[in-house]
């Protein structure tokens, strides 16, 4: 079979297949990052754009692809598969689609490798670009973030489609005949997204509630089953060359640096939201966001796709608690806090919730010595408040300043007096305005 193929052609063909496989993975993963992709056309050939297509290479994805290939090429009986799955913030996961690059034994001996095969592979990549935006997982990936994230896994060998549920559909992207076999690119995608829709229905409570449930137990224990090497977060660009990643970098950096449990756990910390997660969590988080070990020391940029959903949710909680500092006064927060073993029970019922106690932790020492007596209102001195100016507790402060003050001009006494005065001065004012009518007209002209 190979005797008709010159060694140069064989070398070229192997190179084409290798880079085709790498570019295929890049296109699929980038199409599931959750953002629009845009690359520029260039009339001058740069020599580095394989298949004459501008497809950026996310280094992490290339690394994973090469690892999965392990020096081999997709071939007959050795299919390369990219599995896309969804993972909810509650830890449920569901396979959405599997893209397969396969080769069968049907050869096209007459085809020119360096020309026809190359151009057809280029065409196939264009088809892949189009088809990746058409399967159901694309829309899901564009909406990922709060409730779920999209993950990918690359594997070699037999195609596994059992995880796609019943009634999955297949779409063939295209075929390219080569002298050593026919390359086929196809996608099998799940049609039954029932899990997704029912979960969305359940998710009606506030985010605070969900996150607190999260962190009652160790938040990352359920990640232990996942093979860390397989589930990778794409978009972690060491060189920062991938333009689309930059925006999300800030989000992800933020999400890694804060963590809800520490804010509730340790009253001894400084007031406000502590920036560093508690030790065990931090360690586990580091394991699953291990792309931080970038050679140039850059922080991870997982883009929209994460192996760690909880980090994204962590950001939410921190932001939420900063936006609503008095969320502690809501009954729901209280209910959830009661069962939380990580939270210190309040020494007295006066501080209305332990969350409040930790937010203003400097004062917790004050409240520590209060009598264990129900229904006794105790003067709670919030941190940094000045007794001389406004001797009041947080609750009073909040109630007092909850609404903006009434405008002075709207208060009845003042308006009753000024109304009469206004009426009297009207004729004078009108006379002045009539005198200056030219000025007003000139002003109106400048506006037009």
């Amino acid at each position: 079979m190979d005797s008709d193929l010159s060694s140069q052609d064989r070398k070229d063909l192997d190179k084409f297949i290798k880079f085709f496989a790498l570019k295929t993975v890049q296109i699929i993963v980038q199409a599931r990052l959750g953002e629009k992709i845009s690359t520029c056309s260039s009339s001058s050939p740069t020599g580095s754009d394989w298949f004459n297509l501008a497809i950026k290479d996310i280094p992490e994805v290339t690394h994973e692809s090469k690892k999965a290939l392990a020096g081999q090429l997709p071939g007959i009986g050795r299919s390369m598969c990219v599995e896309i799955s969804l993972k909810t913030s509650e830890g449920d996961s569901m396979e959405l689609e599997t893209w397969c690059l396969e080769m069968n034994e049907k050869c096209d001996k007459d085809i020119k490798v360096s020309y026809t095969v190359y151009n057809r592979l280029s065409l196939l990549l264009k088809s892949l670009l189009a088809i990746t935006r058409v399967t159901p997982a694309y829309k899901l990936s564009r909406k990922q973030g709060h409730d779920y994230v999209i993950l990918y896994r690359i594997y070699f060998g037999d195609v596994q489609l059992t995880g796609l549920g019943e009634g999955f559909q297949s779409v063939r992207v295209g075929v390219v005949g080569t002298p050593i076999g026919t390359i086929t690119l196809s996608c099998a995608y799940r049609t039954n997204l029932a899990l997704m829709s029912s979960r969305q229905f359940e998710r009606t409570g506030p985010i605070m509630g969900i996150i607190i449930d999260h962190f009652v137990e160790r938040p990352f224990t359920n990640m232990a089953h996942m093979h860390p090497c397989s589930y990778r977060t794409p978009g972690e660009d060491e060189g920062g060359t991938y333009a689309g990643i930059e925006d999300s970098q800030e989000v992800c950096t933020t999400s890694f640096s804060t963590s809800p449990p520490s804010q509730m756990v340790v009253p001894g910390k400084e007031g406000g939201v502590p920036q560093v997660p508690a030790q065990p969590n931090h360690g586990t988080a580091a394991e699953h966001c291990r792309i931080p070990s970038c050679p140039n020391g850059q922080s991870p940029q997982p883009g929209e796709m994460h192996s760690d959903v909880l980090c994204m949710c962590g950001t939410q909680v921190t932001t939420t608690s900063l936006d609503l500092p008095f969320a502690a006064f809501t009954p729901r927060a209280n209910d959830l806090e009661v069962n939380d073993p990580m939270v210190h029970p309040p020494p007295s019922p006066a501080p209305s919730s332990p969350l409040q106690g930790s937010l203003h932790s400097n004062s917790s020492s004050h409240s520590g010595g209060q009598p264990q007596d129900d229904f006794v209102m105790v003067d709670f001195k919030p941190a940094f408040s000045k007794d001389d100016l406004l001797p009041m507790d947080l609750g009073t402060f909040y109630r007092e300043f909850q609404n903006p003050p009434q405008l002075a001009s709207l208060s009845i006494d003042v308006s009753a007096q000024s109304m009469a005065e206004d009426l009297d001065s009207l004729p004078e004012k009108l006379a002045i305005y009539e005198k200056n009518i030219d000025e007003f007209d000139a002003f109106v002209d400048t506006l037009q």
Partner: protein
């Protein structure tokens, strides 16, 4: 050589016509455009790079992928806008067809002008529907998005049959095969035409216009 002819049909609401046509035309042109050719000595050439761009539709739940070329996009948008205007002016039964034809020029001897030989024609039949309320429009958004997805799969299927494509031309022949007028990409020579079906359903073209992309001087 027989010209390959493919027909796609879509039913859309009035405000979706533009985006639906753009989605399909751009998908076809993505596959029928290459980078700019740079011919070197000894008959070799190198090819520029084609970039791509995702574009979210406003009235359809769909994201189209097009070649990153603003020039090409402008030309296609103009053609689609004219088609849509013609559809709008035709009356309440909006039915029409827009065709994207790829052709090759064959030089003839003087005094005969060059022949245009089509090798692939894509005809997109459009049926414009009127919807009564917002709920129907929302359903239509999703349905048309799915339908466009199916059409993209159809287009890809046809293209990947790898049937006839013009041979890569020499430098002197490139203008007979490719549209070299754009700065950044090089589609095969193409022309876009449309015809509007009148309310009786007859295919007499009441307004037929040619939008000629090459410099066909008669």
């Amino acid at each position: 050589m027989n010209c390959r002819s493919e027909v796609l049909e879509v039913s859309v609401e009035g405000r979706q016509v533009d985006e639906a046509m753009l989605a399909l035309l751009h998908t076809i042109l993505l596959h029928r455009s290459t980078g700019k050719f740079h011919y070197k000595k000894e008959g070799t050439y190198s090819i520029g790079t084609v970039g791509t761009q995702d574009v979210d539709c406003d009235f359809i739940d769909f994201t189209l992928v097009r070649v990153s070329s603003d020039e090409l996009d402008r030309v296609i948008r103009k053609a689609v806008a004219e088609f849509k205007d013609a559809l709008g002016n035709s009356g309440s039964d909006g039915m029409g067809q827009i065709s994207l034809e790829f052709y090759q020029k064959k030089k003839s001897r003087w005094p005969f002008s060059d022949e245009c030989i089509p090798w692939e024609v894509w005809s997109i039949k459009v049926n414009v529907v009127n919807l009564a309320n917002e709920q129907e429009r929302q359903i239509c958004r999703e349905k048309v998005g799915e339908k466009l997805g199916e059409k993209v799969i159809n287009i890809v299927e046809v293209i990947n049959r790898h049937e006839y494509l013009p041979k890569m031309p020499t430098q002197s022949e490139v203008y007979n095969v490719f549209d070299t007028s754009l700065k950044d990409v090089q589609p095969y020579l193409y022309k876009i035409t449309y015809q509007i079906t009148d309310s009786l359903g007859t295919s007499v073209s009441t307004t037929m216009r040619r939008l000629i992309k090459d410099t066909l001087a008669l």
